[in-house]
């Protein structure tokens, strides 16, 4: 509560950073923390909060501007900007170590960025970290759990942490357990649960208190295919009402669950687009997969003579067959020519179609695109 006779928020001198939760008492002031910590502590009770909460109606759920985080001299992430609309499911795609977790930790106010700004539901991560934390449910990558607690006990504890009054906690826990299919395991020790159920407990924890934004760091890693399908449909069900960011390094996951994708690589933002557009952009350079039962060297020589073929790269193949990835000229419709060519040599065509893109292909493609634009 604001102490009696305390000055209004706007009159607090900007150099006062004493109570800033980021810097503790002896922490160095950050240049970005231009709003003071006094505003942080009183902000929730002051008129400032009313002001921002009315504004949120017209704001994107998440706005990120020029976020940079340095780890000593090393760069964690560099100049990342994007914005996410309410109800959108955003995929965060990148190889391990590309800065996904760093970005998520900044958005959950685990630590502040070196520079840049971010707003979640209209709350600035510097000005009002507690409002940000209240509007975010977070599942860290390691799915941290207290293994010596029961599922219900664990969820009630976090309901309490998130400010649910004591009497409402069992109901809050029961609600998320139902949504995640955990009702039958409520009284079991978390340490005794299988990996899939532990993952669900983690997601249930993030769902507690119906936060407007859910940030899930690799929610399907280490699960079996059925569990992955369950979790995906659970996440899909959240879209529309809740804004979801989920990170992954699995390509199909994004196209199955997400409305839009952010691609991040070595701390840099490569693209923000819908999965369909991305696939379209990437397939500007079409690649075909061909498998036939002829000898590899002869087959390669014959195929590379077809009009419109740029390169023929061997891609293994089962025993007795040879497989190739064929890069063609853009817009060249040569599937028929390739098939005829194989047929005329007297070999059997086993497979011919668009080559499936791996995540690496996409990164290489996007990076080379970018370097072409900005040499």
């Amino acid at each position: 509560m604001r102490p009696k006779g305390a000055p209004q928020i706007d009159t607090i001198p900007r150099t006062c950073y004493k109570f800033n939760p980021y810097t503790a008492v002896c922490g160095p002031p950050s240049p970005c923390m231009h709003m003071t910590a006094c505003a942080v502590d009183w902000g929730r009770y002051s008129s400032l909060q009313h002001h921002t909460s009315t504004v949120t109606e017209f704001m994107p759920a998440i706005e990120v501007e020029h976020l940079t985080k340095m780890y000593g001299p090393a760069r964690g992430i560099q100049d990342i900007s994007f914005s996410i609309e309410k109800g959108e499911i955003m995929g965060f795609l990148g190889p391990n170590g590309s800065g996904k977790t760093t970005t998520m930790r900044i958005l959950t106010c685990f630590f502040p960025p070196t520079s840049g700004r971010a707003r979640i539901c209209g709350h600035d991560i510097f000005d009002d970290p507690f409002a940000v934390r209240r509007s975010v449910g977070y599942l860290p990558e390691s799915v941290p759990l207290y293994r010596d607690m029961t599922v219900a006990g664990y969820l009630s504890f976090f309901a309490g942490i998130k400010g649910v009054p004591r009497r409402a906690r069992p109901a809050a826990a029961a609600e998320v357990m139902e949504r995640c299919g955990l009702e039958r395991h409520a009284r079991r020790m978390i340490g005794m649960l299988s990996k899939g159920f532990r993952q669900r407990v983690g997601i249930a924890q993030a769902l507690l208190g119906n936060p407007e934004v859910l940030i899930l760091d690799e929610p399907t890693v280490g699960l079996d295919p059925r569990q992955i399908a369950d979790i995906r449909s659970l996440i899909k069900g959240l879209g529309g009402t809740q804004t979801v960011i989920l990170s992954t390094h699995i390509l199909p996951e994004v196209s199955m669950t997400c409305d839009r994708v952010i691609i991040i690589y070595e701390g840099r933002l490569l693209a923000v687009d819908t999965p369909a557009n991305l696939v379209h952009r990437i397939q500007a350079l079409p690649r075909l997969y061909l498998e036939a039962d002829g000898p590899a060297d002869v087959l390669a020589a014959v195929l590379s003579r077809v009009d419109g073929v740029r390169a023929v790269n061997p891609a293994g193949g089962a025993s007795g067959t040879s497989a190739f990835i064929i890069e063609t000229e853009p817009e060249a419709a040569i599937v028929n020519d390739l098939a005829r060519c194989v047929y005329e040599q007297g070999w059997t065509l086993r497979s011919l179609g668009p080559a499936s893109m791996t995540l690496e292909d996409i990164f290489i493609q996007l990076i080379s695109d970018q370097e072409r634009i900005r040499p």
């Binding site: 939760p21 980021y22 810097t23 503790a24 008492v25 002896c26 922490g27 160095p28 950050s30 240049p31 985080k69 340095m70 780890y71 000593g72 964690g76 930790r105 959950t108 106010c109 685990f110 630590f111 502040p112 960025p113 070196t114 520079s115 507690f130 934390r133 209240r134 975010v136 977070y138 860290p140 390691s142 941290p144 759990l145 207290y146 293994r147 010596d148 607690m149 006990g153 504890f157 976090f158 309490g160 942490i161 998130k162 400010g163 924890q205």
Partner: protein, 246 residues
């Protein structure tokens, strides 16, 4: 509110794991044995006048509890959360670092108080047959409690530095024993240095209480140790946010 939630959870996990039971049982065995032997000694050599020496001897012996058992209670406070990664959930929940620290600290303090409360059996037993002076006894308990409060704060801080519980407990024991023995050898330093060491060592202030003296100096000393170490804990938790700041 949040502090209370964390406090309850910590208390529950002390008693749902074996730690609290094992530590309390160990304490009662050693404390009971020392009480028994001192009692027999006093009855044999000093006669039935137990008012003067028995409590001094027993409580001086009981200092082993804060110095060696408290590190076993405090080692898990933050180290375990860091190891399991659950600290990340607390750091991203709408909880202040201070609430986390105080919740954990108070839970540990309550376990320790319970440990001490169980030894009230000794004066109760003695009281059946002899008279017990309540004043000095209260001073003894207060001294042991305050010493424990300071030791728990120290252990909390050390636990926040590492994710290895064993390291946390060993370092805590080392720090506490050093603080206890700081002024034990008056020959190694000049008298002025010793005067300062007397003021900052754990033992000198504790001996005051044992003698039945409640000195404001000593109370303030232990309380400021508590504040000092909890402040360091808060800085150590906030250190995660310092990386990469300009």
């Amino acid at each position: 509110m949040n502090m209370l939630t964390i406090f309850t959870k910590e208390l529950r996990s002390y008693f749902s794991s074996l730690i609290a039971y094992v530590v309390i049982a160990m304490f009662l065995v050693v404390a009971g044995y020392s009480f028994y032997t001192y009692l027999v000694m006093f009855l044999t050599f000093v006669g039935a006048d137990l008012k003067v020496g028995l409590w001094q001897y027993t409580f001086h012996y009981l200092r082993f509890a804060p110095l060696t058992l408290i590190p076993l209670l405090t080692m898990r406070l933050f180290a375990e959360e860091k190891k399991m990664g659950t600290i990340e959930l607390l750091f991203t929940a709408p909880v202040r670092d201070l609430d986390i620290i105080l919740g954990k600290y108070c839970a540990c303090l309550l376990v320790y108080s319970l440990m001490l409360a169980l030894t009230l059996l000794y004066p109760a037993l003695i009281g059946l047959y002899f008279s017990v002076a309540p004043g000095p006894l209260f001073a003894c308990y207060l001294g042991l409690f305050l010493l424990g409060a300071a030791c728990i704060a120290c252990g909390t801080f050390v636990s926040s530095l590492t994710e290895n519980q064993i390291v946390a407990s060993i370092v805590t024991v080392a720090v506490l024993l050093t603080l206890w023995n700081l002024d034990w050898n008056e020959g190694v330093a000049g008298s002025q240095v010793i005067a300062v060491l007397h003021q900052i060592s754990l033992s000198e202030h504790f001996l005051n209480f044992i003698k039945g003296v409640i000195d404001t100096d000593s109370v303030v000393y232990y309380l400021s140790l508590v504040f000092f170490f909890l402040f360091l804990t808060r800085c150590s938790l906030a250190a995660r946010t310092w990386q990469g700041l300009k």
